[in-house]
C-alpha cells in the first residue's frame, strides 16, 4: 500500500466507526433504554392497548433492530463507494 492508499483506508475506517457507533447508540437506547431502564416511566403512555415501555420491550425494539441493520446496509455501501473500497 502506498501512503495515499493507507491514508484513504484510515479515513474509510474512521467513517465506518462513526456509522457503526451511531447505529449502536440507537440499538442501545431502544432496548436497554426504552425497553428496560425507562420501561416503567414510559408505561404511563400507551400505544393501542400496549403500555409504551412494554411495547418497546416486546415489539418495538425488534422493529428498530431491523431498521438499523438495513440502514447499515445502505449507509455502509455509500461509504464503501465514497472511498472506492466496495467489493
Amino acid at each position: 500500500m502506498d501512503e495515499n492508499e493507507a491514508e484513504r483506508a484510515r479515513a474509510y475506517w474512521r467513517a465506518n466507526l462513526r456509522l457503526v457507533g451511531s447505529l449502536l447508540a440507537i440499538w442501545f437506547a431502544c432496548s436497554f433504554g426504552a425497553g428496560i431502564v425507562l420501561r416503567e416511566w414510559l408505561d404511563q403512555w400507551r400505544i393501542g392497548g400496549y403500555p409504551l415501555g412494554f411495547w418497546f420491550a416486546q415489539q418495538g425494539s425488534i422493529y428498530i433492530f431491523l431498521v438499523l441493520i438495513f440502514a447499515y446496509v445502505v449507509l455502509a455501501r455509500r461509504i464503501d463507494r465514497k472511498f472506492g473500497v466496495e467489493d
Partner: protein, 591 residues
C-alpha cells in the same frame, strides 16, 4: 382424516422433503462441506440462518415462558434478536472478508497461535454440545406426544434424518434443508397465531391483536384484561414482571452478545459470496426471525388468558378435553386441596417439584392423584409451561390439520438447529484440530472423510444425550450463551477492531471468561442450587445473565495483558487492515 393420520402425513411429507433436498445437494469438496462453496444467495442464507437459529426453545418454549412470566419474557425477545445487530455491524462482514471456514480459523490466524485456535475449539465444543442435547430432547418430546412412539425412538428417528443430510450434504445440504425447514416452522407458528388472535380480538395479525380490544364485550384491551384477571387471582400484573432491572439488563446483554458469538450462527455468514452480502444477509435473517419473535408475545399472552379462563373455578369433570390429554401426558396436574371439586389457579407451586402420579389411582372427581408433598398456598393447578405452543391449537379449538402442522414445525425447528450445531462441531474437529493443528499434511479427500466421520460421531453423542439427558441439560442452556458472550465474542470483536490486541491478551481473556462463567453458572445451577437466590448473586445478577460480567472480565484481562506483552507482528496487522476493507473479498487472507 383423523388428527393422528394427519400428523403422520405432515411429518412424513416434511421428512421426505428434507431427505430429497439432501440427496440433490451432496458436498463434493471441503469448501462445499464447510461453507457450501461460499456461493449462497444472501436471502437464502438469511432464511437458513433463521432456521439454524430458531431452535426447539424458540419454537416450543419461548411463548410458554412469556405466557407465564409476562414482561420478564422480554429478555428473550430483545436478547435473541438484538444480537443480530451486533452480528451485522461488528462481526459478519469482516469474518466473511477474512474468508476461511471456521470461527477457530479466524482466532488462530488473527492471534497467530495454535493455542488460541485450540482454546476457541474447546469453547465451541462446550457451547455446541450444551445446545444440541436440548434439541434432541425436543425432537423426542414432539415424537412422544404426537406420534405415539417413545421419546427414545423419536430421538433415534431424528438422529437418522439429521445423519442423512448433515453427513452427506455438509453445509450445502444443511443450507437448503434449513430453507425448507424455515418454511415449515414459520407456517406452523403463524397459522395458529392468526386463528387465536382473530378469535380473541377480531384482528388476525397477532402483533396488532395483542394491542387491540377484546371482542368478548368487555370493551377492554387484551393486555388490560390479562393484567386484571391475573391480579384478581393474586398474581403480579402481566405487563410488570418480577425480575430486578439490573438482572433484566444483564440477561438481555448476555443473550445479545452470546447470540452474536454462537459459532453455528457466525459460520452461516461464511457461506455468502462477499462482505457486503454478509451485511444484507444478517438483515434478512432478522426479518425471518422477527416474524416469529414479534408473534410470540401475542401467542404467550392469549394462551395465558385462554388458560386461566378455561381452568379457574372449573369443576374437573367439565374441564376441557385438552386439560385431561395433557394430564395423561404428565404435563398438567390438579390437586384438590380444599376438596370443593373445582380447580383454583393461584400463584405459587401447587405442590413440591414435578408431578409424581400415584399409580392408577384417581380422586373423587376422576383426576390423577399425586404423591408430591403439598404446599401451603391455595394454588391447585400444575402446568408445564413448555406445552403452551403445542396445546394452543387444542385450547383454541383449532382443526386437526393445524395440530399436525405444529408437530411438523416443532420437529423442523429442532432438526435444523441440531444440524447446524453438528456441522460446526465436525468442522472444528476435522479442520481445526486435524488439519490445522495436528496433521497439516492430510489431503482434501481425507479431510472430507474426517469431517463426515466427526459428524457421525457427533450425531451419536447428541442422540445419546437426547435419550439419557443428564439432569442438568435444561438447567444450563444459560451455559451456551454465557460462554459465547464471555469467550468467542470478545476475542473476535477485538481481533477486528483493535490492531494492538495480541496473542497473550486474547488467550488470557478467553480463559478467564470461560472459567469465570462456568464456575458461576456451575455453582448456582449444579453444585449448590439451594443457594440460587438473588441475595447470593454477584451484583444481583442471576446465572442466566452472568455472561455479561464474563464478557467485561474478558475485555479487562485481555487489554491489561496485551499492554504488558509483545506487540502484534506486522503481517498480522496487515491482515487486520485487509479484513477492514470490503474490496478484494474472497482472498483467504491479506498476505
Amino acid at each position: 382424516m383423523s388428527t393422528q393420520s394427519l400428523i403422520y402425513l405432515f411429518v412424513g411429507l416434511s421428512f421426505a422433503l428434507y431427505i430429497g433436498i439432501a440427496v440433490l445437494s451432496r458436498a463434493r469438496s471441503t469448501g462445499d462441506f464447510y461453507v457450501a462453496g461460499g456461493h449462497v444467495h444472501p436471502v437464502v442464507n438469511g432464511m437458513a440462518t433463521a432456521a439454524d437459529w430458531m431452535s426447539a426453545a424458540s419454537f416450543l418454549s419461548m411463548a410458554g415462558i412469556i405466557a407465564f412470566s409476562g414482561y420478564d419474557g422480554s429478555v428473550y425477545l430483545m436478547g435473541w434478536t438484538g444480537g443480530f445487530v451486533l452480528l451485522a455491524l461488528l462481526l459478519a462482514p469482516y469474518l466473511r472478508k477474512f474468508g476461511q471456514f471456521t470461527v477457530p480459523d479466524f482466532i488462530g490466524a488473527r492471534y497467530y497461535s495454535k493455542a488460541a485456535r485450540v482454546v476457541a475449539v474447546v469453547c465451541l465444543i462446550i457451547i455446541s454440545f450444551t445446545y444440541i442435547a436440548g434439541q434432541m430432547r425436543g425432537v423426542g418430546i414432539v415424537f412422544a406426544r404426537f406420534l405415539d412412539v417413545s421419546v427414545d425412538l423419536g430421538v433415534i428417528f431424528g438422529m437418522a434424518i439429521v445423519f442423512v443430510y448433515a453427513v452427506l450434504g455438509g453445509m450445502k445440504g444443511i443450507t437448503y434443508t434449513q430453507v425448507a425447514q424455515y418454511c415449515v416452522l414459520i407456517f406452523a407458528y403463524l397459522v395458529p397465531a392468526f386463528f387465536i388472535s382473530f378469535l380473541a380480538t377480531g384482528n388476525p395479525l397477532p402483533q396488532i391483536g395483542l394491542g387491540s380490544h377484546l371482542n368478548d364485550g368487555s370493551g377492554l384491551y387484551a393486555l388490560q384484561k390479562l393484567d386484571m384477571v391475573l391480579q384478581d387471582l393474586g398474581f403480579g400484573a402481566y405487563t410488570s414482571g418480577t425480575k430486578s432491572t439490573v438482572d433484566v439488563f444483564a440477561i438481555t446483554l448476555a443473550l445479545m452478545v452470546g447470540t452474536a458469538g454462537l459459532p453455528h450462527v457466525i459460520v452461516r455468514f461464511f457461506t455468502v459470496p462477499k462482505a457486503s452480502a454478509a451485511r444484507i444477509s444478517a438483515g434478512w435473517a432478522l426479518v425471518f426471525i422477527a416474524l416469529l419473535y414479534t408473534t410470540a408475545p401475542a401467542v404467550g399472552a392469549f394462551a395465558r388468558l385462554n388458560f386461566v379462563q378455561s381452568v379457574e373455578e372449573q369443576a374437573y369433570p367439565s374441564s376441557p378435553e385438552w386439560f385431561r390429554n395433557w394430564e395423561a401426558n404428565d404435563l398438567i396436574a390438579w390437586r384438590d386441596k380444599n376438596g370443593d371439586g373445582k380447580m383454583q389457579y393461584r400463584p405459587g407451586d401447587a405442590f413440591e417439584g414435578t408431578p409424581i402420579y400415584t399409580e392408577e389411582a384417581t380422586g373423587p372427581s376422576g383426576e390423577r392423584l399425586l404423591d408430591n408433598a403439598a404446599t401451603k398456598n391455595e394454588n391447585e393447578v400444575y402446568v408445564d409451561r413448555d406445552i403452551m405452543v403445542l396445546a394452543n391449537p387444542e385450547i383454541a379449538k383449532l382443526p386437526g390439520w393445524v395440530i399436525a402442522l405444529v408437530a411438523a414445525g416443532g420437529l423442523a425447528a429442532a432438526l435444523s438447529t441440531a444440524a447446524g450445531l453438528l456441522l460446526v462441531i465436525s468442522s472444528a474437529v476435522s479442520h481445526d484440530l486435524l488439519k490445522k493443528t495436528f496433521h497439516p499434511d492430510v489431503s482434501e479427500r481425507q479431510e472430507l472423510a474426517a469431517a463426515r466421520l466427526a459428524a457421525t460421531a457427533a450425531v451419536l453423542i447428541a442422540g445419546y444425550l437426547g435419550i439419557y439427558p443428564p439432569g442438568w441439560v435444561a438447567q444450563v442452556v444459560a451455559f451456551a450463551f454465557g460462554i459465547a458472550a464471555a469467550t468467542l465474542f470478545p476475542a473476535i470483536f477485538m481481533g477486528i477492531f483493535s490492531k494492538r490486541m495480541n496473542r497473550e491478551g486474547a488467550i488470557a481473556g478467553m480463559l478467564v471468561g470461560l472459567v469465570f462463567t462456568i464456575a458461576y453458572i456451575g455453582w448456582f445451577k449444579l453444585w449448590n442450587p439451594a443457594a440460587n437466590v438473588a441475595d447470593n448473586w454477584l451484583l444481583g445478577i442471576s446465572p442466566e445473565g452472568i455472561g455479561s460480567i464474563g464478557m467485561v472480565l474478558n475485555f479487562a484481562v485481555a487489554l491489561s495483558v496485551s499492554a504488558f506483552t509483545r506487540p502484534v507482528p506486522a503481517d498480522v496487522q496487515d491482515l487486520v487492515e485487509a479484513i477492514r476493507i470490503p474490496r478484494g473479498a474472497g482472498a483467504a487472507t491479506g498476505h
